[in-house]
Symmetry: C3
Subunit: 432 residues, 3 copies
């Protein structure tokens, strides 16, 4: 389904407390967040008047949002979507969220022209989503805004909300709602874990792969964008990256960020690497080969290779095989894989486009290199068939890059540092 919003991809969803007790300036956190630029600035910034802000500070938090967004919103490079309070089981909370929306969006206060929408947490079944949507419509009508102009994003933190996502495509477009305003579907795994009553021995969060699949699927079916929830262990950069890689394989290209450091990681992560690299399956563990002047060297101890009089002896883990040169080559082709750089992807896409122009439906894209294990070198090469479908499936990171480049001029310098100017230019050009 067509995505109806300006951004087609959202890499980063960064929340800031709206009012902090005991500070000279209770708006300190939102004020400093509003000044983030470049890779530190998120695609979507969320002044968080719900969980990140103490309940007794939320009225002040709403005022802080208005003040800071009125002042700094025009220059903020990402979109701005404050989170207000909401709960499927509490009419009191829902009414409070509505009042905060009315307060924040009041055009007299000068913030609404910089606001892109609101984030609604703790939604339940689809009828609960419609209650929130109705409040957006009333706010828009009250203030003379176009119906549907304020985007609505939701946090999925209940089984009921997970099920509701399956109904979006059928419900959008009905005359009694404006659900087309839906923008982000954001998983909130901590509260979801509570709602599902899950227990783990250490108290750590379950991975919830099915939830993330269903969120990504709903985004695809209803023209929204899916975003994963917060990654608590802020020091664990490697873990954060692994989670993003896992998410991206599910089609979930955005993730929550709790710090500007996480924003930087998450803004860069879904972009293709500057340099290609080779991987090898070392007895069930993936290892990256080290480039030594064009030769790809395995430096671990799980694979060993030696020349025998008439061939090779390859040991992977505890399995040893005697192979001739062709068998060894075939084995290494099976064990290795190539991670293409942005440059490589653009090259392959251009190659396929040229072939298509010339009337060909499919071409072989070849990757070749020399692999060195224990000093023994072997040349390997593998082909992958590309047809129209492969081309389109592989295009996603390029489309993402183009979306970033068009909507985030403040990141152009960072992108030029990551990639050569020539690659950026070709990447903006390919596939259009």
């Amino acid at each position: 389904m067509e995505r109806r919003h300006t951004r087609k991809f959202v890499r980063t969803f960064f929340t800031s407390p709206t009012a902090v007790e005991g500070e000279d300036d209770s708006a300190k956190m939102v004020r400093s967040a509003s000044q983030l630029r470049g890779m530190q600035a998120p695609d979507v910034w969320v002044p968080d008047n719900e969980d990140a802000t103490a309940p007794n500070m939320r009225d002040e938090g709403a005022e802080n949002i208005v003040e800071v967004v009125a002042e700094n919103g025009a220059d903020f490079p990402g979109e701005i979507h404050p989170r207000v309070v909401w709960h499927r089981d509490s009419p009191e909370t829902r009414y409070q969220g509505f009042q905060h929306m009315l307060q924040i969006a009041d055009p007299e206060k000068g913030a609404v022209e910089h606001l892109d929408g609101f984030v609604i947490p703790e939604v339940g079944g689809i009828d609960d989503w419609k209650k929130a949507d109705e409040f957006f419509t009333i706010v828009e009508n009250e203030y003379g805004l176009e119906e549907g102009s304020l985007a609505m994003s939701v946090i999925i933190e209940s089984g009921a909300a997970e099920l509701a996502m399956g109904e979006l495509r059928d419900e959008m477009g009905k005359p009694d709602n404006n659900l087309e305003r839906l923008f982000l579907l954001v998983d909130g795994e901590v509260d979801y874990t509570k709602d599902m009553r899950a227990i783990t021995p250490t108290g750590g969060l379950p991975e919830w792969p099915e939830l993330r699949h269903n969120t990504s699927r709903a985004a695809s079916a209803a023209g929204c964008i899916s975003v994963d929830g917060p990654f608590d262990d802020i020091r664990d950069v490697e873990g954060y990256r692994e989670r993003m890689t896992d998410n991206q394989a599910k089609g979930m290209t955005g993730i929550w960020s709790l710090t500007p450091g996480q924003v930087v990681e998450a803004n860069k992560n879904p972009l293709p690497p500057q340099e290609g690299s080779w991987l090898i399956d070392a007895d069930g563990r993936e290892a990256e080969l080290t480039d030594d002047d064009g030769v790809q060297v395995y430096e671990g101890e799980r694979i060993s290779l030696e020349e025998t009089g008439d061939g090779y002896r390859l040991t992977v883990g505890t399995d040893t095989e005697e192979l001739d040169a062709d068998e060894l080559r075939e084995e290494l082709v099976d064990l290795t894989d190539y991670v293409p750089s942005m440059d490589d992807i653009v090259d392959s896409m251009e190659e396929f486009e040229a072939a298509k122009e010339a009337g060909k439906g499919a071409i072989a894209i070849t990757r070749s290199t020399t692999v060195r294990i224990d000093g023994v070198e072997i040349d390997i090469a593998s082909d992958r068939m590309w047809d129209e479908a492969t081309y389109q499936a592989v295009q996603t990171p390029i489309t993402l890059f183009q979306d970033v480049y068009q909507n985030r001029p403040d990141q152009h310098d960072d992108l030029a540092e990551l990639y050569s100017e020539d690659v950026v230019e070709r990447a903006m050009d390919v596939g259009n």
Copy 2:
């Protein structure tokens, strides 16, 4: 969604054949089951007039249920939910199930006052569930019972039933049904495997993670309780425990039990441990450290550690790193994890409650210990941030404990043996 039944958690679902051929007393099995007490007695006892009982014995089985429940039901410490026959594809079977329900619930026979509901196997789409619900309503009306007073539990053993679970939240509360009577959603993996036509090389059952997720989700969205199916290999206690741990991480806190021995395991398993323990990730395998007078000792061979002149050499699997003391500490913090005891959880909850009272929204919960590997000792400490959401997500095992304690006085002695009286008292008090 609010859970409408007395029990908020069901740990154990224990089935007994209702009539066994060739015995002096064909009711022998139900009679002995009705006398189980304490940890051997299940939260839900299911005199099973379906698969566990031969087809030609089922009329006698229905009589046996009435007789035994009338006699021993008043003193049985768990709930009693007989299973009757049913099949989405067979009106004959459905009618037979209805007749058995009429027979068992006849107030003249004295069993119904001790009955909590019936279990319906082999349901299909939601309209098939409604047929069963209608029979409950007729039985209730016929015998002057309140509409909805008999709980209905279902066995999910078809793709159609799995899909129907997604519709419960929308269907409950409609004027033409009494589906609010729904209590347990129980997976039945053997028949589900048949219905899905799955094949495994050894004939073993697939794990069906998506089914279990969807069952748990439906329980959350519709205010029911999810229960996993039977674990056939009765001797394999370790496997049974692993399955429960896996289920609990999905929010499925109950499981079928085929023997009183399995009941004991499953009654205890979701309760927090008496003693905390440390885990270490030993090259991809989780190992428990051995407590030696407060020092946590790694006794395996997958990790080794030695002091070098100016630091440490840590080997995990085949990877060796040279580290200084701080780096080693950080590495060990990453590799280890703590399984809190009931006492620890109560402590942390009380600590958070006190902080909240004092106006704080988040606090750090610290865990520290000394780890010994190959004789080398290192002190480690890690913090975890707790906010309201963490607090609530971690509360589940305590809520479960409270539900057990309130509803199962016959287990008070066993619980007092597991935990100190002081811990039990504080656990009953915290979070309310």
Copy 3:
């Protein structure tokens, strides 16, 4: 739900380009495919007038289908379901697909009597499926065919289509459609990956376990047959087999084949093996034991066993245990598993049927053998309880065999070669 089509199982879905540019005979590929017989001939043959054929060749492709099917269709041993173009987002493409259906099914051209249906790719929500169904109805009406006589199969390659599968059971049978014509639900992972906007570092396809589960579940709930998408790496026979094993454990018994070689693999794979074999869990890796005259020998290096003075020392990976004979036996029973042959399955089924006739509801099926590790031999035996449900769940491969045998006389010779005649006869007889 009852499967309404002739075939109850479809192992193979083989696509052929309908028109190849630059060949003397552009119909070359469909012509040769139409002559496949025996294990090389698929259960469902799909002359592919969509992705496998260049867009500018598709009108010629439609003509080629008519010509080849009119000529060779009568003798083709499998079903014939051409794929036409379709897209949920393009009325132009949908209209073109409709025109090709009208052209191919024109009875004057002599092909339709050999056609079993059409395959519709790129469907979206359920209403999009209904548009395709309506074109089938118009074609049938136009040409005097019975309504619903042409089967409709769909390719699931969008999140919207994945969700639509959950609605089939409710939508079929409504007076305004003929969706009962639905036959195959086929996953198309390349385009699905594009639609979901998934990114993997190497550009490889995600495994999409949830999609495959949902497709299998929909097939179960709506009386259809589920089929997995193409496996691109044609050289990787082992990978193709592993994918089929994984699919079968999900209830997905069919798979796409891109070459006659893949057809042979996929036709044989879901059939039970000729010979039983023993597996052992070697420190997390499954290894097959080698039969040496009835003794099962472990030849790897991950497990070692030696006799000590008063017992045994068993090492699995890095864990060593001292065991007496009974403990060792128990440990080996846990580590090993048996893959039954067709003969074994038939034996067990017959044994259970005899017991049932004699009034028994459950029996123990025993497997015993001698295992040899490092020269040390141990006799082991394990029991598995079989009841009616086990019997029915284990019956699936036999039912599949019977469906193949009845519908594919051209494979009788191959089957007789795989199994002894006696086994074939008993397999055709059991369970009926």
